[in-house]
Symmetry: C2
Subunit: 337 residues, 2 copies
């Protein structure tokens, strides 16, 4: 029988915690045999939620963590001071080998800082990038880095490209994934200093399938599987994606409700449009991994409901099964040798 995957889930992080987090954990263990979940949070609250469900008792455990890190808290301070917070306790379980992965919908800053300070980097990894999947008209692309390291250097971006390729190939199942760097023109000589310096490193790297620059306009078309960029730019892309998408949906709804004729038509088009818009939703794939750590840290959206939490937990199976961290280690050691 295959090995169990043990996942520490931050039961207190996110807009719908602990209710939706606990529900997602119950759904994950019910759906997959190999998962064991440790719900980390305020015991009384977590157990009250758990009591609502029937589930294989042996596979969900509750670990008490009386403190909670709020989204607006300065992350470095919060991680250092709140030793009994759900994020810190969950990350310590990974550090101590008591869990394989952490899943949290809590403060992004605290997750990024905790990942580096508590879980720690794989030897050779300069900076661990946050790598969410974004929906495209062809499926999904990995956007790396999206918030972990502003003002990155070319060598960081090269590592992002390698780690992203390993993830995309082994977790998402995209064979020989294409890699492109976000740029303001298609030509090699275009770009800012960082892009110009990074371009030759990517071009000469034998481990990746580099296809050159990608203009932001081409991102939604699924032009590349792994989209490399500095964290500030990545964060802008990720947030704008959400922003433009939701403005568009709102405007469409307004249009559909604006006349009697449109309202009648809306009833007819609703199922088809709903199905279309659903395909523009990357949450099916789980959350965003923070790559290059000695353990897996997955950040799910702050507004995650049970489905996203469940998918983020299930994603950890493939990550462990495919030995992503071992592959990252091997890749980096090979380069140094």
């Amino acid at each position: 029988m295959a090995e169990k995957v043990r996942i520490a889930v931050d039961a207190m992080g996110g807009d719908y915690a602990p209710g939706e987090i606990v529900k997602g954990a119950v759904e994950a263990v019910s759906e997959r045999d190999r998962i064991e979940v440790v719900l980390v949070g305020i015991q009384e609250q977590v157990e009250k939620e758990l009591a609502k469900y029937t589930y294989p008792k042996g596979r969900i455990q509750v670990v008490h963590a009386p403190e909670v890190i709020a989204t607006e808290e300065p992350p470095v301070m919060a991680i250092r001071k709140k030793k009994n917070s759900s994020i810190v306790v969950a990350m310590n379980m990974v550090k101590n080998g008591e869990a394989d992965a952490v899943v949290s919908a809590g403060s992004s800053g605290a997750i990024l800082v905790g990942g580096q300070l508590i879980v720690g980097r794989i030897k050779g990894v300069e900076r661990p990038p946050l790598a969410p999947l974004i929906p495209t008209s062809k499926g999904v692309s990995l956007l790396i880095d999206c918030g972990a390291n502003v003002d990155a250097r070319p060598s960081h971006l090269l590592q992002f490209a390698k780690m992203g390729s390993i993830y995309m190939e082994n977790v998402i199942g995209k064979k020989n994934p294409t890699v492109a760097i976000v740029n303001i023109g298609a030509e090699e000589e275009k770009g800012n200093a960082l892009v110009k310096d990074t371009f030759p490193l990517l071009k000469n790297c034998p481990d990746i399938h580099f296809i050159g620059s990608i203009e932001a306009r081409e991102i939604p078309n699924g032009y590349a599987d792994v989209i490399v960029c500095e964290a500030f730019v990545g964060n802008v892309i990720l947030k704008l994606y959400e922003g433009v998408g939701s403005m568009f949906k709102n405007m469409l709804m307004q249009g559909l409700m604006s006349t009697v004729r449109a309202k009648i038509g809306a009833l007819l088009v609703k199922p088809a449009v709903k199905k279309t818009l659903k395909s523009f939703d990357a949450s099916e794939y789980g959350g965003a991994p923070l790559l290059g750590l000695r353990g897996l840290v997955v950040k799910t959206h702050g507004s995650s409901k049970a489905k996203e939490v469940k998918n983020s937990i299930i994603q950890c199976i493939t990550f462990k099964e495919q030995q992503i961290n071992e592959k990252i280690k091997k890749n980096l050691i090979q380069d140094e040798g």
Copy 2:
């Protein structure tokens, strides 16, 4: 009677040149009395297009420019070598006081370089930013800078904020426009080095109505009137806006055509949806000005058709009438004094 505004239009630039460019010029002079257009391009081609229309003959002149700068040409070289190209000839007319403004749908690079090298900067302006309007759910916002100057410094961004405010207030008519800087979090301490260094300059500037950081997610909501950012980030925002918008439209169309039921509904919702999507279209306002030059240079989209060309030409009236360049000069001298 108010003064005439004389506009040199690059008849050869853009995907639909010279046909749609000439058509747009004819529509502009037909719609507004105060405009005189000089169509700069290959005389024979331009006159052949002009012959299709009836228009006030005295108000459109053709100036022969036998060379054309292609989009893929390295811009600095192209501007230096092709002295008889439509862009260079048109810009020289502004430089020599023979025209008030240039409108071009041609190579962005050549327009940016030509603007700086031929038309020249207003004394005191460190870098002239390209400032397109982007559609929001509240109307439009000015995104400044979008491609003129990568790797900008904080003092450049401060000037962008001031010039953008003057433009937004006087050309678009937004009183006391709000200014925000693109950032990866709402808090003052967030951001990369450039944003952190620029933030206090904007905060302490008495000439603008600074409201702090703007996350990319909030841009489509019209959270700020003037959105300040470094050109690389601005270019990513602009292009992604277009990319996500057009992916969304395509997916919606696919959804509407996917079932018989949806197809029938689509006929009913079409007028309302079309009207809604039309409001998500900034081309009504004209093209993107390159601010801070001794004359006006307006870059319209490469895919511009007659309507956008016409609006870009008409936009030049307000720019001149409101004495934008005089206001920019005054604002910068006041600061130095």
